[in-house]
């Protein structure tokens, strides 16, 4: 059965169906509908909803719920995510699962409430202090959002690591028909680290304060090996008309949706343009991009920022392959027609250069 829901509400429903029993949040546009939905839905499902006094309180409540073994989630938008970074660093250091949703808005500073993709660096580089990474998932439609939420909880539990869902204001606000039929009840994960009272067993400790430098180094290498396993196993991406593409658009999230509209128009004009859409922004799908470069394709990176993912594309290509870039920062939503014009200009210019 399909229901017409906003991205924020659909995310909330998917989280509850995926076994999220604790939600802590602080209001911020454009993700308010998620907090609103959870306020009603989580207690109905027998869980705990708390509207915290701040974003910092919310993320630390998540830490507390996670250390007690619950599936916990919090959400915010860009300025609030900056506040949550301390808590996310602690979650990563303590190896605790959690899902954090970021519905990105225009920035920096207070910015505005329009959709943007300017938190790419913050999400994919850890964001807080210390040598850590978070898995970053970037859905491109409301339906995909509902599929990514259970995946995020599973990945968080599997690796005992915070997972970021990187949406944007548009994805949160847009209404689309969604189906929740494919969400299965949560799997059981071994929770041999949670603090449930030490009656009848030796006591456990969850901490990130490691004064002994050797111990801290060993902990860092342990985390590093875990991140290597994620890089090997958890890369996800989607392709669109890639096989014969002479120019490959690389875009993610709602940006990819706009690009797809542009590519359909370009194909009508017989321009061979395809797309690679990273679904995991970290680990980044470097291999498929490198393979496309070996086939002689040029790259066109489109982001709703002044250029952040373009650096990961450069790193993936290791100097092989030519990159074009187009970005619209500040919460501006470009149209497929605008993107169609820009891509065809770059396409013809590079074709002329080759002759």
């Amino acid at each position: 059965m399909k229901r017409l829901m906003s991205g924020n509400a659909a995310l909330g429903e998917a989280a509850v169906l995926a076994g999220c029993t604790c939600y802590f949040g602080y209001p911020i546009t454009p993700q308010n509908e998620l907090t609103e939905y959870m306020a009603k839905r989580v207690p109905e499902a027998g869980g705990v909803f708390i509207q915290s006094e701040s974003e910092i309180a919310a993320i630390n409540m998540v830490l507390g719920a996670s250390v007690a073994g619950a599936r916990a989630m919090t959400s915010s938008s860009s300025p609030g995510m900056s506040l949550k970074q301390e808590g996310i660093s602690y979650l990563a250091a303590d190896e605790l699962p959690a899902v954090v949703v970021d519905m990105v808005r225009g920035g920096p500073g207070m910015g505005n409430i329009s959709p943007a993709q300017s938190d790419y660096f913050q999400a994919t580089r850890g964001g807080g202090h210390g040598d850590y990474k978070t898995i970053v998932l970037a859905p491109g439609s409301v339906q995909e959002l509902t599929e990514i939420v259970p995946l995020a909880f599973d990945l968080a539990d599997k690796y005992r690591n915070p997972v970021i869902i990187l949406g944007d204001g548009m994805l949160g606000q847009m209404m689309e028909p969604v189906s929740f039929d494919n969400i299965k009840p949560p799997k059981e994960y071994p929770k041999d680290y949670i603090l449930t009272g030490a009656k009848g067993r030796p006591s456990r400790m969850v901490r990130s304060l490691l004064f002994d430098t050797k111990e801290e180094e060993e902990h860092n290498w342990k985390l590093f090996r875990k991140y290597q396993r994620m890089e090997q196993n958890e890369v996800r991406y989607d392709t669109f008309l890639l096989d014969d593409a002479e120019m490959v658009v690389i875009a993610y999230g709602i940006g990819a949706r706009i690009a797809k509209g542009a590519i359909k128009r370009l194909r009508q004009e017989n321009l061979k343009v395809g797309m690679i859409r990273p679904i995991t922004l970290w680990p980044f799908p470097a291999k498929i991009i490198k393979e496309a470069a070996q086939n002689g394709a040029e790259f066109f990176v489109f982001e709703m920022s002044a250029g952040q993912m373009v650096e990961d594309v450069k790193l993936a290509l290791e100097g092989k392959g030519h990159i074009h870039f187009y970005g619209r920062p500040g919460g501006v939503i470009p149209t497929p027609i605008e993107l169609f014009r820009v891509i065809s200009r770059h396409y013809y210019q590079s074709r002329r250069g080759k002759k």
Binding site: S6, T29, N32, N112, I113, M174, M175
Partner: protein, 69 residues
Amino acid sequence: MKGSIRIDQERCKGCALCIEFCPKKAISLSGTLNLKGYFIASFKDGGECTGCATCAVMCPEVAIEVFKN
């Protein structure tokens, strides 16, 4: 005029779908912010409304009421 519309300011999220689909191009984004902080849609001064209700059908937030005169 054949019709008129009323936009619920606090429901509007400034998505501009009504503006895109109004056959008479009689709606525009105003410079006014609502409580959530969105620039809201409003009926243009001197615009013509036929009461066709396309705007109300398109509005994902069900924020537009249409009246036929």
